[in-house]
Subunit: 181 residues, 4 copies
Amino acid sequence: MSQRQEARDLAEERIFEAAVKIFSQFGYESSSVRMIAKEAGVSPGLLYNYFKNKEELLVRVFEEGLKDVQATFRDLPDDGQVKTYLLHNFRIMQEKKQLWRLIYLIRMQQSTLAILGERINRVQKQVLDRLEARLRSSLGDKARAEAVLLNASLEGVVFHYLFDNSFEFELAQQALLTRYS
Amino acid sequence: MSQRQEARDLAEERIFEAAVKIFSQFGYESSSVRMIAKEAGVSPGLLYNYFKNKEELLVRVFEEGLKDVQATFRDLPDDGQVKTYLLHNFRIMQEKKQLWRLIYLIRMQQSTLAILGERINRVQKQVLDRLEARLRSSLGDKARAEAVLLNASLEGVVFHYLFDNSFEFELAQQALLTRYS
Amino acid sequence: MSQRQEARDLAEERIFEAAVKIFSQFGYESSSVRMIAKEAGVSPGLLYNYFKNKEELLVRVFEEGLKDVQATFRDLPDDGQVKTYLLHNFRIMQEKKQLWRLIYLIRMQQSTLAILGERINRVQKQVLDRLEARLRSSLGDKARAEAVLLNASLEGVVFHYLFDNSFEFELAQQALLTRYS
Amino acid sequence: MSQRQEARDLAEERIFEAAVKIFSQFGYESSSVRMIAKEAGVSPGLLYNYFKNKEELLVRVFEEGLKDVQATFRDLPDDGQVKTYLLHNFRIMQEKKQLWRLIYLIRMQQSTLAILGERINRVQKQVLDRLEARLRSSLGDKARAEAVLLNASLEGVVFHYLFDNSFEFELAQQALLTRYS
DNA sequence: GATGAATGAGTATTCATTCAT
DNA sequence: AATGAATGAATACTCATTCAT
């Protein structure tokens, strides 16, 4: 029973990893279930033992990925400073590049946003609130505006890092970190 | 003859507008030729009287849009200051919302980047160089790094404006403009 | 009135020639009405002023072509000998290559044969009867069998001449003519 | 697993047979994938589980058919005489009527010749060379010309047998065999 | 649990034909 | 007579999904 459960988990895990890889590479619509199954080394039919359909697979991949990122954030030592927050972001962005690509793709696609938009909005709000809190002490009532801008700036940097291969990331990183030291 | 030409222009224009709308809403892959034809109020076959294929339609939409944006930029009064540049961007972003959405979607999708990536890279480089030139006088050799960061920040703001409907644009805009006044 | 008639005939003639060329090159199904119109230098719509549809165009082309061939035959001096008949065939085959290709294509295509099969059978019978008559004096009651064989042989040579570009026509021609001298 | 394989083989076989039938009846271009699927009693999509595309289906049908014919030739007792060769041809022509129709259709259609012309030319050359060898002993240096003519004559007979339902095959056959006895 | 054969609706594109001009 | 814009059905092919094994 336990063995069977493990086998199940193994297959599910492989499908999962494959889905992250394929979705992040080709986007939701251009990724076929067959491609994911092949990448996972299983038959196309097996996906439907674990996921109701392609859409649910995307949702689950997104949810798990988000949990993963949030857990990583929690585990990193945090002194509440903005600089530390930025460094964490740059680190995770590099470690979970595929996942981040996927999250951005989902945020921009009407079809996927319809499914996951609500969830994304909640996370955005949380992120923004925490960033505002970090800025509050030094900036006072300008903290909210600066938080909104900093969040957008950081996402702009991440966006370029993920999708623009001529992006001079080091320069942007240094400039941003210097500003918050 | 003149009536012919009018009919031609009208149909082409309607297909064009429909393509901008549908592409920017769903992205290239998820937009079907049928959807575009329906939106334009014509039969699917008619598209091929005006555009060689779906890909050429995308390219034309992109090229025309870019030309339009560049012309608008040229027509706006410019004192060479960063603040003015930002204001122009915010203005165009709002006026050409659909087009900008489309450009972002293209930049993130492998299949469309394969078609238009080269063109986009050239524009990116040009934008960056001009931004660097504006910053040169006040920042000296830190101008490049700041240009890269500012460009990313601006794009982050645009990104949120376009795809995040809970985005507090006014706050971000003020914060950014204040910094460069 | 007469001028108009001439104009009509001119356009019809050009469509005709174009149809022979295109049909014989690509076959009936693979030839598009647009291709024929383009080749004729007229608009696609004009075809339907002269021909009810694509099928009727084929039928008319075939009929006219056949008439043309038969007229040519009639005009050539004939001494009633088999050899002369063969020479006439080789000559026309070379002069009306396109037309002959078309006739062969029609004879082998179910769709076109359904339309023209009856007509073709009648001509075949006529050809065969005349050939038999030529052979009667020298061969007596074996004339029919020899006529059937000779006709098939001749058509085999024509077939290779038309569709097999590695065919050694000169050799075959000499061998056949020698046999009937 | 065995049942799987049986199902596979059965479906593939049915599609194959259907393709032979439809292709030989209508030719390549005029045969639609739908028609073939319907004839085979399967859904159109299933074809692509067994054949990469319509063209590969044609190639496979052609190659298999040719192999089959060549094997039959090899298995028939052969004394090296022309008459025996002719008899073999008449026999196979009758047994593999559909296949032979298809081969003739392929040879006359530009689109299919582009695919299979090379292969067909090689076979043609081989056939001709062997025929020449059979004739060499009795005809000497006229063997080549006679081989070319005989081959064309034989093909003319086959052509009429396949595509002309008023063809008096028995007469032609007797006349040809008599000549080489 | 796992397979992969099978389906059928969907995709981009072509094309004979019509008809207002 | 002549045009060519417009249509809609047809084409080859793909793909998410189901289900017997």
